[in-house]
């Protein structure tokens, strides 16, 4: 391709219908920019979504797109990927779509390691249905369906993914362009299910729910941007250490005890679980990556003819034995 595509080439003519100021706009920009960065071809790129605000996404990307039904995008995308493994398939979902009604499909997609990039826009609320608490809402969330505050324990997308056998888990913040592009590029390059949790600000129903760590003014102290093989440093000489007594991560002064600072290892599943639960700072970037055979590769490898027709129906139609009935004779 001589003329490199830009983010604009991936924008459709459709009027965008998200609320003004919605975090989805920033995510859309990061995605289209990433598609341009990685040299994606529009005809072999597909966005599949379920239902919810996030799921409007495919209408706004100039690629193939399928806006499906609530929670089922991973299942539809799995069938699509099996039918054509060469496609670059992205699934866009939300906390309600992916972790409530569609959690079963998400779990099985993750354990199978289907080659899909799954972007879960987490805003801890149901937006499209007007603000009910979601499976990721914190205890005490007041909403039209929980006027006195919610009392169910929320699910952690990261723990859900890792517990389901995810081979890639990363995090980004809607408005953090640099972090998002890094994470999206890494997700795109991963062979298998790349699951990305994006903290998305719903300005109408759950504004600033993530402000404690997304506020740019204090981001250096509240976000831990992970890089494989690099020490976990953030803010003003702060580092992360493993506390062997409490089996948890803790913040230390990196200048005082430089040797105690953990070095990020993307392939360490136990570390990944600890990082997911780290609350301040909040871990960002690629938290876990463990390459493994993709489902579609295994599927084609196990198929006797890689889904091609190498024999004719007539080779099978006679079965193990057949007999003839001649003219004028009935069956014995």
């Amino acid at each position: 391709m001589s003329n490199k595509r830009t983010a604009k080439d991936f924008a459709t003519s459709q009027e965008i219908r998200w609320c003004p100021g919605c975090g989805d706009y920033a995510i859309l920009k990061s995605v289209t920019k990433t598609l341009a960065d990685v040299g994606a071809t529009p005809e072999s790129t597909v966005f599949v979504s379920g239902i919810g605000c996030a799921s409007r996404f495919p209408y706004y990307v100039e690629t193939y797109g399928f806006h499906t039904i609530h929670g089922r995008a991973p299942a539809i995308a799995t069938g699509l990927k099996l039918a054509n493994p060469d496609l670059d398939v992205w699934v866009v979902t939300g906390d309600g779509d992916g972790l409530s009604i569609g959690a079963n499909h998400l779990m099985h997609t993750l354990r199978r390691n289907v080659g899909l990039k799954i972007l879960l826009f987490n805003n801890e609320i149901y937006g499209l249905t007007k603000g009910q608490y979601s499976p990721t809402s914190r205890v005490g969330t007041t909403s039209p369906s929980s006027p006195k505050g919610s009392f169910d324990t929320p699910v952690s997308p990261g723990q859900f993914a890792l517990g389901s056998g995810a081979k890639f888990f990363a995090r980004g913040i809607d408005t953090d362009k640099v972090g998002m592009r890094h994470v999206l590029q890494q997700a795109h390059a991963f062979q298998g299910t790349a699951f990305v949790e994006i903290f998305q600000n719903c300005i109408v129903y759950n504004e600033d729910v993530f402000a404690s760590f997304t506020d740019r003014r204090d981001a250096a102290n509240t976000q831990l941007h992970l890089r494989h093989g690099e020490p976990m440093l953030f803010g003003d000489n702060k580092g992360i250490r493993f506390n062997q007594d409490s089996w948890s991560l803790e913040v230390i002064d990196a200048q005082l005890s430089p040797d105690d600072v953990l070095v990020h290892d993307e392939g360490n599943a136990i570390l990944a679980r600890l990082l997911v639960d780290l609350h301040l700072p909040v871990a960002m970037g690629v938290i876990y990556r463990q390459p493994a055979q993709t489902y579609e590769d295994a599927y084609y490898a196990h198929h006797p003819s890689r889904m091609r027709r190498v024999k004719k129906t007539r080779d099978f139609i006679k079965g193990p034995s057949s007999w003839s009935i001649d003219e004028g004779k009935g069956k014995a």
Partner: protein, 612 residues
């Protein structure tokens, strides 16, 4: 076996070693025949030698039981069911069976040593020697010993109970009462309480195993008279096999690969099993995490350019309903196979019904029509599968194919078709135009209303589809009220247009006008055909249920009365009343059992009697 007899008598042959206690049991059964009345009768079949070598073919002893209420047929009747306790018993008994008989194999007896003794070079369970039969494999010896362990019998005493274990399995499969057998055991073993209780336990344990394992039996006891078989090459085939081959053939005719996505459910699973062995025909199977994922993956496959097919039974179909609506909205091809069973809810998983007709024709939210067709015999599943795929691809719509548990298992002689006689399956071309890709993807054929099958990967045609209502021309999202009306009309017209492409309905038997017309559909074909033939009534059998054949109204108008026998509470009657404004007489049967010819004949004669 008399292929035309009604299903009221079943001949079961238990065969094993004389050392297995078969001979003893056989003689005991024989002695008791007089006492047990007509409930069951037995036919001992001993080897000449009193102590023949174990495991050899000449050491096989067997006994046959006729479970049935009617007069006992002769011992010469071919068994409908064989229970083979070892390879030798299988070898000796196989030639006695007719094609399609049920063969229950005790896996525990199939040791390499026993196979060699019986003269088998290859294990008949794997060699294809049993392909003409319905085969159920179970570890009967082992399961039986576990069941009677509590009685502290010796191993040989315990093993002898396995005949009753096997009988328990059979009684479950054929819906027979345990009580007469239990009574017989009590009387026979009155002086040995431990053996008596152990045998009764084995009988019940076998029955419970049949239920837990959801074993189902369908014997093709009712089929066409031999004179009706046209000359040609035949094989024995079950509905699941025929449907699998039909799906593969449809892929070949359309020159597309097939992705079959399903979730295990009784009695639909045999199709998944069959298709998983047809990979070389460009068929792939995907066992999904649930029913919804199965249909969604099939939709994804269709979106990606393979023929997406899913299959289930009523409860699973209910779960798939929302996704069917998506395929209707997105105008994607899809075939949904429903192996109907008795309900509501879990109902009777192993018993046959035709009670999902409403669900298929009417059972979706909003105005969401789709074509519905059905298969009448195991063999016909082949061409109906091809027709379902043809309709799906031509009209770009999901299609429901109604079959049932009976067809899944029932084997019948099938004339092997010549595939060159089938037309290729064509798809609608992408129009060459300056319009937007979105518009080109939704430019519909004026006759079938099918759109081109534009799939991701095709350059220059990127577009978006989904479940939101779209503009009838541009294909973009549209909430415009008049447009929704137009789209609703278009979706109905598309399904109605199927009738323009299928052959007109034919009357299969009898005059084309007169007093009584029998109208049926699905797997009741065999008995209804027979009953119509015996009474001389006119008879037609529907394949297409939505839309109904164009000329059906005119055929029906030429008769005074219409009789609809069906295995539900009158669903086709409702459909005919709704679509054609006629008032048929309903003859419904919902016992989970196929129609008996004599019941149908009686009904037909009573109607004719009223008229004259």
């Amino acid at each position: 076996m008399n292929k035309n007899k009604d299903v009221d008598s079943i001949v079961i042959r238990l065969a094993g070693d004389s050392g297995d206690g078969i001979q003893l049991m056989g003689s005991q059964f024989a002695v008791s025949t007089a006492l047990s009345g007509a409930d069951f009768a037995t036919f001992p079949d001993y080897p000449a030698e009193i102590r023949a070598p174990v495991g050899t073919t000449f050491g096989v002893s067997a006994y046959q039981i006729n479970l049935g209420g009617g007069p006992i047929t002769t011992a010469g009747d071919a068994p409908d069911v064989l229970v083979a306790f070892n390879p030798a018993a299988l070898k000796v008994s196989l030639p006695l069976l007719h094609r399609g008989a049920l063969v229950i194999i005790n896996n525990d007896g199939f040791t390499p040593r026993n196979l060699a003794k019986a003269g088998y070079d290859t294990d008949p369970r794997q060699s294809g020697a049993l392909n003409d039969f319905q085969v159920v494999e179970a570890d009967i010896s082992h399961l039986n010993l576990e069941a009677v362990r509590e009685f502290g019998l010796s191993k040989s005493e315990g093993s002898r109970c396995k005949n009753f274990y096997a009988l328990g399995v059979l009684l479950w499969m054929f819906d027979r009462e345990l009580a007469p057998v239990e009574t017989w055991i009590k009387r026979r073993l009155a002086d040995n309480a431990t053996l008596r209780d152990a045998n009764i336990k084995a009988l019940h344990a076998g029955h419970a195993y049949g239920e837990t394992a959801e074993l189902a039996a369908s014997l093709s006891q009712i089929s066409l008279p031999s004179a009706a078989l046209e000359p040609g090459e035949y094989r024995s085939i079950t509905g699941a096999e025929a449907l699998a081959l039909g799906i593969a053939a449809a892929g070949e005719l359309a020159d597309r690969s097939v992705l079959f996505c399903s979730y295990p459910i009784t009695p639909a699973s045999p199709l998944l099993h069959r298709l998983s062995r047809l990979g070389e025909l460009g068929v792939g199977t995907f066992q999904a995490e649930d029913e919804i994922a199965a249909i969604c993956a099939a939709i994804g496959a269709s979106y990606g350019g393979m023929i997406g097919i899913t299959s289930s039974s009523g409860p699973g179909i209910a779960l798939k309903t929302e996704a069917m609506g998506l395929a209707v909205s997105a105008e994607l091809p899809l075939v949904i196979v429903n192996w109907q069973r008795g309900g509501p809810s879990t109902g009777l998983p192993t018993k046959t019904e035709q009670s999902d007709l409403y669900q298929a024709v009417y059972g979706r939210n909003a105005d969401t029509p789709l074509p519905v067709l059905s298969a009448s015999t195991s063999g016909e599943c082949f061409e109906v599968a091809i027709e379902a795929v043809r309709i799906a691809l031509r009209h770009m719509t999901p299609v429901i194919l109604l079959v049932d548990g009976y067809l899944s298992n029932a084997a019948e002689p099938w004339r092997i078709p010549d595939l060159s006689g089938f037309e290729r399956i064509e798809t609608n071309p992408v129009p060459e135009s300056d319009s937007s890709p979105q518009q080109r993807a939704f430019t519909r054929d004026p006759g079938s209303y099918g759109r081109p099958w534009v799939t991701p990967g095709m350059p220059g045609l990127m577009h978006r589809i989904g479940g939101l209502e779209k503009d009838i021309d541009t294909g973009h999202i549209s909430y415009d009220p008049p447009n929704h009306e137009q789209m609703t009309v278009l979706r109905a017209a598309k399904v109605a247009s199927v009738a323009e492409f299928v052959p007109e309905q034919k009357i299969e038997l009898g005059p084309d006008e007169g007093e009584l017309l029998i109208v049926s559909w699905g797997s009741t074909y065999g008995p209804v055909y027979q009953a119509a033939q015996r009474t001389g009534a006119s008879f037609l059998h529907l394949r297409h249920l939505n839309p109904l054949p164009k000329n059906l109204a005119s055929i029906i108008s030429r008769f005074d009365k219409v009789l609809v026998p069906e295995m539900n509470a009158g669903q086709l009657v409702t459909l005919l009343r709704d679509k054609l404004c006629v008032e048929p007489i309903s003859f419904s049967k919902v016992s989970g059992q196929p129609f008996l010819i004599r019941d149908l004949v009686e009904k037909i004669e009573s109607i004719s009697g009223e008229a004259s």
